[in-house]
């Protein structure tokens, strides 16, 4: 299925991409989890990847962070190819991520978990420690975790555990933030708080790529959407236009559902 690019009102002149993926494919045996996806992320904007369950969104994120090997295609970050590097080198280039399921150290406090992100860029050296601690405090403050620094994950609600993941990611002061369902399990107020935080980070020039099921949240939060189904890109462009795209409606609602929509 060919990608249907929709005219993006904001994007006239092509800006230099923070991240560019060309013809990326990830196949597991005969399963084409991602097949021929090309995306380019320009600086200071929030991009979203939308798609039903099993559409290949999380595998695409794993490919972008080198956690799964590419079957085909190339990856560029800041103009430099990185499709053969080992996964741990991605953080040093300025890429931070959160995971689909909460992944935080169970035996450590909120502060320690966030510090793991702040120290990811080699801040373990003594001279960097105080700066890292400052970054931890700022990240904790910004994600609404102030007062919970000494709590352990099992003392926090799921929504707060998600915040710890986001705080850990932003504590590394990344150039690109990849968020896999950042508001899953959160109530409306918490979701709005996180959407507001992501908007603030965009205002500071941070490029973000979100993966979410929540169409409304994606339309509200993102500047540009990519829609996927069966491992392929089926549409990309302005959020409102993408969610109205027939291929996207069909992917979410099926043919009959689209007729009634």
């Amino acid at each position: 299925m060919a990608s249907a690019a929709i005219e993006d009102a904001a994007g006239t002149a092509p800006a230099k991409s923070v991240l560019r993926a060309d013809d990326v494919a990830v196949h597991f045996g005969g399963v084409k989890a991602v097949d021929g996806v090309s995306i380019a992320l320009t600086p200071g904007r929030i991009f979203g990847v939308l798609g039903p369950n099993g559409s290949g969104k999380s595998t695409l994120l794993a490919a972008l962070t080198r956690l799964v090997p590419l079957t085909r295609g190339s990856l560029e970050f800041d103009g430099r190819r990185y499709d053969t590097v080992r996964p741990h080198t991605i953080a040093a280039r300025g890429v931070a991520r959160t995971f689909q399921t909460v992944r935080i150290l169970p035996g450590r406090t909120v502060f320690d978990n966030v510090a793991l992100g702040a120290e990811s860029a080699g801040a373990a050296r003594k001279a960097e420690r105080s700066r890292a601690r400052q970054r931890v405090r700022v990240a904790i403050e910004r994600t609404g975790l102030a007062g919970k620094e000494r709590h352990r994950p099992d003392e926090l609600s799921y929504g707060y555990q998600r915040r710890v993941e986001i705080a850990r990611a932003i504590a590394s002061e990344p150039t690109l933030l990849l968020l896999d369902e950042p508001t899953a399990g959160m109530n409306r107020q918490e979701r709005d708080d996180i959407t507001g935080l992501l908007g603030d980070l965009r205002g500071e020039g941070l490029t973000q790529l979100l993966i979410e099921h929540d169409v409304q949240m994606m339309v509200e939060a993102c500047d540009h959407l990519f829609a996927m189904n069966f491992g392929e890109l089926i549409a990309d462009g302005e959020p409102e236009a993408v969610v109205r795209h027939p291929a996207v409606q069909e992917a979410y609602l099926g043919k009959q559902g689209r007729a009634h929509a």
């Binding site: 450590r108 990811s120 109530n187």
Partner: protein, 306 residues
């Protein structure tokens, strides 16, 4: 006190050398590496120290240093060879390595003394030397348990994929644990042999693997304190359980089984969990207003801690 010390000097010295052996298995476990290579390096260290003193007339310090370096180099090389293995497969490979060492020394001819082993390797070692080595090792390992390095080691153990996303070279950490494990095994083996003055192939058997593992299961696997607690329990248990006579092995088995079932984090883990629960209760009590929780739902906050 002095009388007590001299009557228990063997147990005291054995505690210190066994602690190093237990740490040689605990260090990789703390990074999620199920390896017994340290036990094999205990054998390598013991034989290198004995060969060095008996055949080449090395000094005690040189023999111990050589044994530690050899243990580290061999374990690091083994780590490179089997770095793709994980879990039980890795454990089996390292147990096989230990057994291979015992076979090699049996067939080592005059160099290793064959099945009879080597005699006359009496080192100039006293409890003070052992304490100093143990203190340096413990101080070094403490740095791997606290601060940024402690967090990183824990991330490597708990979630290697997360650790990689945080910029941690997981494979490098795993290889480093092999090297440290080998050094600790080499130190323990060489000092044990130089205290006893003899080494035989029977000294490097599967029993050492079981001993190191049970020490860590009962004492605790997350901190050197756990290794120390477990070592004290198992080195001194025969002395304490002398009154049960031939039932000693049964009591030993029951204690290990009970610890595995009821103390998953070992004695140290249970103590730490108890302390955390106590602090949590104190914090919750401090957070609760004197009149009790507010009856107004809004006061509880939306999306707060569950």
């Amino acid at each position: 006190m002095i009388d007590w010390y001299f009557s228990h000097i063997v147990l005291i010295q054995s505690t210190l050398t066994t602690l190093l052996l237990a740490l040689s298995v605990q260090v990789p476990l703390r990074a999620g590496v199920f390896s017994f290579a340290g036990v094999g390096c205990y054998g390598i260290g013991g034989y290198i120290a004995a060969i060095g003193m008996v055949h080449y007339g090395l000094s005690t310090a040189t023999a111990i240093l050589l044994a530690a370096v050899a243990g580290g180099v061999v374990a690091y090389t083994l780590g490179l060879l089997i770095q793709r293995l994980t879990g039980l497969y890795l454990a089996m490979a390292t147990v096989a390595f230990t057994l291979i060492i015992s076979v090699l020394v049996v067939n080592g001819g005059d160099l290793t003394g064959g099945a009879a082993g080597l005699f006359g390797a009496l080192g100039m070692l006293d409890t003070g030397h052992l304490l100093a080595v143990a203190a340096v090792v413990v101080a070094g390992l403490t740095f791997t348990e606290i601060g940024p390095l402690g967090r990183r080691v824990e991330a490597v153990r708990e979630d290697p994929e997360l650790a990689a996303a945080m910029g941690i070279d997981v494979a490098r950490y795993r290889r480093a644990t092999f090297a440290v494990s080998g050094v600790l095994g080499g130190l323990s083996g060489s000092m044990t042999v130089l205290l006893r003055s003899t080494v035989t192939p029977d000294d490097i058997n599967f029993h050492l693997v079981v001993l190191a593992l049970t020490i860590i299961i009962v004492g605790g696997s997350r901190s050197w304190i756990g290794a120390l607690v477990g070592t004290v329990i198992f080195v001194w248990m025969p002395e304490v359980l002398a009154f049960v006579g031939e039932w000693e092995d049964v009591v030993y088995g029951v204690l290990v089984a009970a610890a595995a079932v009821y103390l998953p984090g070992g004695v140290t883990g249970a103590a730490v969990d108890g302390y955390r629960k106590y602090r949590r209760k104190r914090r919750e009590a401090a957070d609760t207003p004197p009149d009790g929780p507010s009856p107004h739902p809004a006061a509880a906050g939306v999306g707060g801690d569950s």
